[in-house]
Amino acid sequence: MTAYIVRRILYALVILIGVNIITFWLFFKVNTPDDIARLQLGAKRVTPDAIAKWKAERGYDKPLFFNARAEGAKALTDTIFYEKSVTMFAFEFGRADDGRDIAYEIRTRAPASLALAVPMFIVGLGINISFALLMAMFRATRFDFWGVVYCVAMMSVSSLFFIIAGQYVFSKLWHLVPISGYAEGLSATKFLILPVAIGVFASIGGSTRLYRTIFIEEMARDYVRTARAKGLSELTVLFKHVLKNGMIPILTGVVVVIPSLFTGSLLTESFFGIPGLGSYTIEAIGAQDFGIVRSMVFIGAVLYIIGLVLTDISYTLVDPRVTLE
């Protein structure tokens, strides 16, 4: 397995370089360094001198990929691409275009994102699996039918609707929780109850239907029939056999998203005023802040790769037949 992981890490380096090149190329295809400078300096009284000064200050006064004026290796290294990319592989993200430290922002915002995403993920997963198991257990009954109808209906409604409706009902009409905001530590609980509940509620649908299908397929297998023939109770069959074996395909979709919980939820954070990394990313895209965008894309790619490796490893843990070579 060690050889496999080392090999995956080496692949990851190639993937990350590719991601970095694509991000860089796409960003500068849309914006020139002059555009970035003008956006940061504002719309009023911006002089060419001020733009030149801003670019020089932040290293945007160099060529993008190739410096024809430089000699030797410097032709490649004395460029915006090289200078902005190399440090990132050492997880030094530098400063945002407004001059603020990106690593500092990530450190201060990540806890808020995790405080929202982790409970939403755990509770959501628990409810989705439980609901799917129930539907599988009562399959071909009214409960199963209406359960599937409910799931399809939930899949059809935008999560924005749930957010606005939830804020209206629970905060505005019933005054049960704050409508938005955030606080550090345990005080965050009262701000997180509603977004977590809405996030969990809104996620019932696609995942539940998928898990239901997995469980039903599993329940039709020979070992389940054998277990029932042995006289095991339905609960034992479900939880000891079906759930355990059904978890293998579920893991595919679940483990891979665990690392990306870190990057936060764009919409929920924005509407509930939670200062997480999701809103950081969306603001950076709006402000065309290359420093933040490339850092968040890089982190997203790293986390996704970690997620895939963890998924592979988790297969070996839940299914002894699988080995990584």
Binding site: V30, N31, D35, R38, L39, Q40, L41, G42, A43, K44, R45, V46, T47, P48, D49, A50, K53, W54, E57, R95, D98, G99, R100, D101, Y104, E105, T108, R109, L134, M137, F138, T141, F143, I164, Q167, S171, K172, L173, W174, H175, L176, V177, P178, I179, S180, G181, Y182, S187, K190, F191, S233, E234, S270, F271, F272, G273, P275, S279, Y280, E283
Partner: protein, 735 residues
């Protein structure tokens, strides 16, 4: 068997119901559950408000947006400020002891009389005397040991309070001079350096000197040593004594005093500059951009621009009396109730970041924000229009004791023609008359009264020219009317009929909207960044207006960068823009049409590229004049010229609508002064009472939900047990 198994479920249901009932009872006597703040703060003398965009710069040399001024204007004390109550807007001293009278000198250095002709004045000297006894807010930079910290010590600091001991000292004239020097600092990027370098004697050269010094220190900002600006002097800026300094500007520039009311000219202590220049500080976000240090009524004690910012009373601020005079209606409005009392009244101001409109509005209605603007989505809930066209509060708002304050913004929005464009521009003398009539026809067709009614809920007035209300040169009534677009009827300007526009269009060579020579339909192009679903109605409206005179309008949507680039290169035909006053002087609006400021030619603010030598001559004459009948006469000439040339379709001047709760006092909109928080007062006891009254938790739906879930669980268990007990063949049916 089944009956027995239900017992535990019923017991559990009873416990849940009991707990819910108890919770219901408790809620009646407890605090509001939806309070986003700590219950301990309920009775504090704290103002709660919000911000949308995180401030990019709190460094006064760099900060230029109104979002940032909301913070910097409370922290810093420039020499001058605007009178809070008086209109038209008037400058008064802030940190300065008095408003200085400029002394004028000719090229030979001889002093001229105060009424000397602007053309004779080679330089103007402003001598500013600072009030004695003003002190900086506590800050670690004033402790010498904190300015010589090792890198590893800084690495262990996370917030300003971690530096331990704080100090302070008296404000001196040198602190104001230090800030003027910072405008030229190559690492600071002040947005006004280019502009000020054209006026302040020696500032341009000073910038070059500093560039050379910075090069000597090293290119990497984070590792470079501190550049002590005290060692280098600007020839036109001098410290005269500990509390007096002078600034020499080139020629006559009366608007300079307005600039000195902005944070750009606030004092910065050299100690702070040295403190923040230590290696490792920038990496930890310790900078003037993050932690300002000033002498104003408040200091920034919490800076989390992602969630909330907190200003607290500066313990070293010696106070300032609340104004005792204002407009005629101010006394009746209670604006003078606190006359003479020492400001600031509020101890703490909490700014909460609120990016979405829905939670922001609802928190205001719940009493968790003390004041609010009104978004279009909430307009009908908050405002009703009376039969006389006046806006008032809806009964729902009145019942809550909410107050409405309106004011006309010192802002102009306009639809600009590109003067360089061959179809609508006026740069080609051979077609100038034809294009002028075309622009006039389009000006009539673009019915901004309708626009204001549909898209702004009536919150604007149609513009008759570039100068907005509240600025010298703006006139109301028949005298200011644009006679090209309006006729004076029934005591008001009435837009000319669409037939008048069609007639002008025909005279321009486009009868029926077609080129008289080629027969081709006239197609115009509007460049815009509006492309969201919400913008479609507005873009359709533009098309509809021109369709009324059979002119086709193509909308070219683009992103902000490309839009700006097109304007800079003069590759546009029509585009919509606005300008918000930097200071209350007509020069600040008319310079937007001054030929040498052309965007395509000089990358200036004249985005229309309008160039008319007659206008330029009048503008040059007007810009240095003192306010008075002579200046008004020149402005009138300019207005007449602009009405005829129509380089812009004069759009509208927006009205700002602000709401505040009954516990807020002294809230008067002031479009120029950003330091208004020191004037505000709140009744915290009334607020606490209303918050509790308005936010009783409603628990019955919660109880109902628990019961329904319990019922569903019970039904599920029952069904499962039935299925477990079921047999394939009933006993009676066995063979």
């Amino acid at each position: 068997m089944l009956h027995r198994s239900l017992h535990p479920i019923c017991n559990r249901l009873s416990v849940v119901a009991l707990a819910a009932t108890l919770a219901c009872l408790c809620a009646g006597c407890g605090e509001a559950w939806n309070n986003p703040y700590s219950a301990l703060e309920a009775a504090d003398n704290t103002l709660y408000t919000s911000f949308t965009e995180r401030p990019k710069h709190l460094d006064p040399a760099q900060s230029y947006t109104s979002d940032e001024a909301e913070f910097t204007a409370q922290v810093y004390q420039p020499p001058f400020q605007y009178h809070y109550l008086k209109r038209p807007y008037a400058l008064i001293p802030d940190a300065a002891a008095a408003l200085p009278k400029p002394r004028y000198f000719d090229k030979a250095g001889r002093e001229l009389a105060a009424d000397a002709r602007a053309a004779d004045i080679a330089s103007s000297v402003y001598e500013i005397r600072i009030k004695p006894g003003l002190r900086f807010a506590p800050h670690p930079a004033f402790v010498a040991a904190n300015r010589a910290l090792a890198r590893d010590v800084i690495d262990r600091k996370f917030k300003l309070a971690d530096f331990g001991e704080s100090g302070s000292r008296d404000l001196t004239a040198a602190d104001y001079v230090y800030e003027i020097k910072r405008l030229a600092h190559p690492r600071v990027n002040s947005p006004i350096f280019g502009h000020m370098a054209d006026y302040i004697v020696g500032l341009k050269d000073y910038g070059e000197t500093l560039k050379a010094e910075v090069r000597k220190l090293g290119a990497d900002k984070s590792k470079a040593a501190w550049l002590d600006l005290r060692k280098f002097d600007i020839s036109g800026v001098k410290v005269i004594d500990s509390h007096t300094y002078s600034v020499t500007v080139i020629g006559k520039y009366p608007q300079f005093l307005y600039w000195m009311a902005m944070p750009f000219f606030a004092p910065i202590p050299w100690e702070a500059d040295q403190f923040y220049a230590q290696p490792g500080m920038v990496e930890k976000n310790f900078s003037l951009d993050w932690y300002p240090v000033g002498t104003g009524p408040y200091m920034l004690t919490e800076n989390n621009p992602n969630a909330r910012m907190v200003l607290a009373r500066n313990p070293n601020y010696r106070g300032e009396p609340y104004p005792s005079e204002g407009e005629a209606t101010d006394r009746a409005d209670g604006m003078l109730d606190d006359a003479g009392k020492t400001m600031p009244f509020i101890d703490r101001i909490v700014f909460v970041r609120e990016k979405e409109q829905i939670p922001y509005w609802n928190k205001f209605l719940q009493g968790y924000y003390d004041k609010s603007g009104i978004a279009s989505d909430n307009f009908d809930q908050a405002i009703k229009s009376g039969s006389d066209g006046e806006s008032g509060l809806t009964p729902e708002m009145e019942a809550r004791g909410i107050k409405l304050r309106t004011s006309l913004a010192t802002t102009s929005y306009y639809l600009s023609f590109n003067w360089l464009d061959p179809v609508v521009g006026g740069s080609d003398p051979t077609t100038a008359e034809r294009t002028r009539k075309l622009r006039q026809a389009l000006s009539i067709a673009m019915d901004f009264e309708e626009f204001i009614s549909i898209f702004l809920n009536g919150r604007a007035i149609p513009a008759q020219g570039p100068i907005p209300p509240g600025i010298f040169g703006f006139k109301d009534g028949q005298g200011s009317m644009n006679p090209v677009v309006y006729d004076w009827k029934d005591n008001g300007p009435r837009r000319k009929s669409i037939d008048a526009a069609r007639k002008l269009l025909a005279e321009a060579g486009y009868p029926g909207g077609r080129d008289a020579k080629s027969g081709e339909p006239l197609v115009l192009y509007l460049d815009t960044t509006d492309r969201g679903p919400g913008d479609k109605a507005r873009l359709d409206w533009y098309r509809k207006q021109l369709a009324e005179i059979s002119v086709q309008l193509e909308i070219r949507t683009t992103d902000w960068n490309r839009f700006q680039e097109k304007i800079r290169k003069g590759n546009t035909q029509l585009f919509f823009l606005g300008w918000n006053a930097d200071y209350p002087d007509p020069e600040n609006f008319l310079f937007l049409l001054y030929g040498p400021n052309g965007a395509a030619k000089a990358d200036g603010e004249n985005k229309a590229n309008y160039a008319n030598p007659e206008f330029d001559a009048l503008f040059e004459q007007m810009k240095n004049m003192d306010n008075g009948p002579e200046r008004q006469a020149v402005i009138d000439k300019i207005s007449t010229l602009l009405h005829q040339d129509a380089p812009w379709i004069w759009g509208f001047h927006p009205k700002s609508f602000g709401l505040s709760h009954a516990w807020m006092k002294n809230g008067k909109p002031n479009q120029m002064a950003n330091n208004g928080l020191k004037y505000q007062r709140i009744d915290a006891a009334l607020r606490a009472q209303k918050r509790t009254e308005w936010n009783h938790p409603v628990l019955w739906p919660f109880v109902l939900l628990v019961i329904v879930l319990a019922l569903l669980a019970w039904l599920g268990v029952r069904a499962w047990r039935r299925s477990e007990a079921a047999v394939a063949v009933a006993p009676g049916q066995r063979a």
